[in-house]
């Protein structure tokens, strides 16, 4: 995933850190102190459609068929997450129990053009 400067117009991952203190949730979320709420944004011109990342998935297989059988370009190509990872959380539930769990697909690791 290319490094993303604010001025970068192309599709890439925008890193965004959220501190739980800003949410007022430090009393019940014990660990971590915050997490990466990354997101994907930027342009996906036609020559980037299907790259990088998604090209290796069944989405790209279907997309290639569509391209082969229909006039190109078919609609717009969007900047979407192509890889995510879980977030481990340690928090207090309403009974005061301490719960440790991994929440799947919480952090966007990479972006690509659909």
């Amino acid at each position: 995933t290319p490094t993303c400067e604010p001025e970068t117009p192309l599709c890439c991952r925008r890193d965004h850190y959220v501190d739980f203190r800003e949410l007022g949730w430090r009393d019940w979320i014990l660990q971590p102190e915050g997490y990466q709420l990354n997101y994907c944004s930027g342009q996906c011109p036609p020559h980037l459609a299907g790259s990088p990342g998604i090209a290796a998935s069944f989405h790209s297989a279907v997309f290639s068929l569509l391209k082969a059988n229909n006039p190109w370009p078919l609609g717009t190509s969007c900047c979407v997450p192509t890889a995510r990872r879980p977030l481990s959380l340690l928090y207090l539930d309403r009974d005061g129990n301490v719960v440790k769990t991994d929440v799947p697909d919480m952090v966007v690791e990479a972006c690509g053009c659909s």
């Binding site: 949730w25 959380l89 005061g96 719960v99 919480m106």
Partner: protein
């Protein structure tokens, strides 16, 4: 990225003022975490555990242990709600949610035996059901022998602790001393109050066993 009033490079909508964007991002973060934890709103903590007890309990769990895949690990601290029914007995009360009570598959009771106990301590752990008739009011879960003071992790059968509704789980500890001497006071043997209170360490499927597999199929 190109200043207020210009067009968002991805979706074509108007860009937001930085403050409005930040408020939106924080709201999105809240929604994402609540959804990830299958909660509709943030929990209101009415009885937070004492910090010292919490720190000590976390240290007792396997350092660096990973939460079970498709599941969670729970520490539930005991509260003492009933006075001891006999000189060598104590009732511990735990509060579990419905999901925790229904899908638990591993349970250990951590308790600290005081250095003042003499010799081998035989401890029987019962599940106590106060609402039932006398004969059914308690079920033997496990019996453990302890020969040293300090913290002990007593494995309990998870099937004996599971329940269908949100559970106020009551465990009765009945100890027997060497020579059958039962006149010792319980707080003398097991630390049931303050920062050294017992706690349950539970492993729980978050949606019942095998949910992950179903999704894959």
């Amino acid at each position: 990225a190109q200043g207020a009033g210009s067009v968002c490079p991805s979706c074509g909508g108007p860009t937001l003022e930085p403050q409005a964007e930040r408020a939106l991002v924080l709201e999105l973060a809240k929604q994402q975490i609540l959804e990830g934890l299958h909660l509709t709103s943030r929990p209101r903590i009415t009885h937070p555990p004492p910090q010292a007890a919490l720190t000590r309990a976390l240290r007792r769990l396997q350092p660096g242990s990973v939460a079970p895949v498709n599941g969670e690990e729970v520490i539930s601290f005991a509260t003492i709600t009933e006075p001891s029914t006999s000189a060598c007995s104590s009732v511990l009360t735990f509060h579990l949610s419905t999901a925790q009570s229904r899908h638990l598959y591993h349970a250990r009771l951590w308790l600290r035996v005081l250095p003042t106990f003499p010799g081998t301590l035989s401890l029987r752990t019962f599940r106590w059901n106060p609402g039932r008739r006398r004969r059914e009011s308690r079920t033997l879960l496990a019996e453990h022998q302890m020969t040293t003071p300090g913290w002990h992790a007593l494995t309990l059968p998870s099937s004996g602790l599971r329940g269908e509704a949100s559970a106020v789980l009551k465990l009765q500890l009945v100890c027997r001393l060497p020579g059958g001497n039962a006149t010792a006071a319980p707080q003398w043997l097991v630390d049931t109050a303050g920062d050294e209170r017992p706690f349950l360490e539970l492993k729980i499927w978050s949606k019942g066993p095998g949910a992950g597999r179903t999704r894959r199929r």
